[in-house]
Homo-oligomer: 333 residues x 2
């Protein structure tokens, strides 16, 4: 037990850096959010401005902790992209380019006086769902976050699996599902991300309109209004629009193949799916389960457990706080 | 340290049960084979007869150990198929059906008076190569054995990864490479095994002859003589026969995609390939490496390390002895 775990009144701050919002939360040692702060992410003002906003949120939460008679342990930060944990630096952030190369962790530490630990967003999701969400009590599972891209995490033996520490791990979005499939942003073809992300839905809709010669219908109208998005396509699917449903069928099919492969290789049977696009659960879970049952020969499909994220947006905050808790424990060893 | 490891003179017996031969070896604690015994596998005489042959080999090796002033620790048994380790029973052995349901470990223990530990052949390969072969000193790696089928193993954190203990794990042969690919024996389509096994080579050659309308050439002659096998097709490929080379190109291509996916998911960069068909290394490693470089976007292909089994047939014996060593250590805890 680390020095900071002797008392039950230690709390942590979890920080979620998204393209839309900067959020921080005070989280207790059991994963309950006590208080949350949120500001618009004005990344156009630069990395330093973002760090200042986050520091102000954290200092506010730290004061709140003190008022409550609680002890602040550390700050955990989740951010999309490649992180250099040792240097507390964002190496490459696809959605927030001004952060590239910025020593966010160090700056936040200076401004708050607290230890800061960083982790990528998919791993933060994994830690959050493991600690207090859909995967609580499950030792081995694979996680997928469906958003602009597809993120992934692996929890093995109850801990985040980090592989050889090569700077990438659990890149489930870049598992190849169909070698001659659509081009992926990563440069390869037929990756899961090219079938099962928001980007894939929009691209798929455009393909239906342009190559399919669509001249009417819901997707055509959205296309004409330049209003195609995962959300709007989902709205059409919910209304029973065939072409929109077919896009979610493809999404579910690819997820089923990917999960089948993960289960066969890892000898596991649990997966948790989160991220913004998981809101469309009702229109892709059927095709996903059918595809999984069709693909997997090693496991009785009845034993497969595919869960939707239980924490939603809170996974990022609770998971980031968990990064702080685990980081502090590691340091105290 | 377990009670049986206090002294350096403890040795182990590794048993390899193959369709052709029954082999046992006396192996020291560092993975050196001291002595080996081999008999034809007359599985047509039944499981009991096989157990008697193996017991005779083990008793001979035990006497030899005694003569050498060494202490026999335990016996480890490797066998293709699904093993119930707790019951020391072969649940299902595709190549040796008479073993199905036979409590081989218990029978061998009764006849020899030694503790017996069982493991499937792909995992035994992994333990052997980790302990004394191509993967010595490598903490995280994926193994593939190319034979009638394609076996797999995962070594994570220096230990055999066993997943949830569902009775399957590291089924790399049943990772789907191409969802609309050739049918696989497992019931699915486009599995690695349907591209990269001895069976796939022979099926591929037959397809070239029948569907490709082949009327002459090396593969046609082999087909006419009913002499198609991985070995004979490899002989043709070595002589530069184009159709034969194309079959190994497909094999290498599929292995490259599979390894790319394993590396992306696990965040690792080492793989070891063994099994009988790995003898054709020179004709598939080029296509494999090209396919891996083409498929993987997360890792600099220069950092990927694909090694051929260093122990060959001995991996099964050394790995089985390692199963005994680890099993005994576990018991002594």
């Amino acid at each position: 037990m680390g020095v900071n775990e002797r008392v039950d009144d230690t709390v942590y701050i979890g920080v979620d850096i998204g393209g839309t919002n900067l959020r921080s939360a005070l989280v207790d040692g059991s994963g309950n959010i006590l208080e949350m702060k949120k500001d618009k992410c004005r990344i156009d003002l630069g990395a330093r401005s973002a760090a200042e906003t986050l520091a102000a949120q954290c200092l506010g939460l730290a004061r709140s902790a003190e008022d409550r008679g609680l002890v602040l342990g550390a700050i955990g930060v989740g951010v999309a992209g490649k992180i250099d944990k040792a240097a507390e630096t964002v190496v490459f952030s696809p959605n927030l380019p001004p952060l590239d190369g910025y020593p966010l962790g160090i700056e936040l530490g200076k401004r708050t006086g607290s230890p800061v630990f960083m982790e990528n967003d998919a791993n933060v999701f994994g830690l959050g769902e493991s600690f207090a969400g859909a995967a609580k009590g499950i030792d081995n599972w694979a996680g997928m976050t469906l958003g602009t891209g597809v993120g992934g995490c692996l929890i093995l033996g109850g801990a985040l699996w980090e592989g050889d520490g090569l700077g990438f791990c659990a890149e489930i979005g870049h598992v190849i599902i169909q070698p001659d499939g659509p081009p992926c942003a990563c440069g390869s073809k037929g990756c899961l991300e090219s079938f099962s992300s928001a980007t894939a839905l929009v691209k798929g809709a455009k393909r239906l309109v342009r190559e399919g010669g669509m001249r009417e219908g819901m997707l055509f109208e959205l296309w004409r209004e330049n209003a195609l998005s995962a959300d709007t396509i989902y709205e059409c699917a919910k209304k029973g629009d065939g072409p929109s449903l077919s896009l979610f069928e493809t999404m579910g099919w690819a997820l089923g193949v990917a999960i089948s492969n993960l289960f066969s290789v890892l000898g596991i049977r649990h997966a948790v799916i989160g991220g913004g696009v998981s809101a469309a659960w009702d229109v892709f879970i059927g095709p996903l389960e059918a595809s999984l049952a069709h693909s997997i020969s090693m496991l009785d499909p009845e034993l497969a457990v595919i869960r939707r994220s239980a924490l939603g947006d809170d996974a990022a905050l609770i998971g980031a706080a968990r990064v702080a808790q685990i980081g502090l424990r590691g340091q105290a060893k």
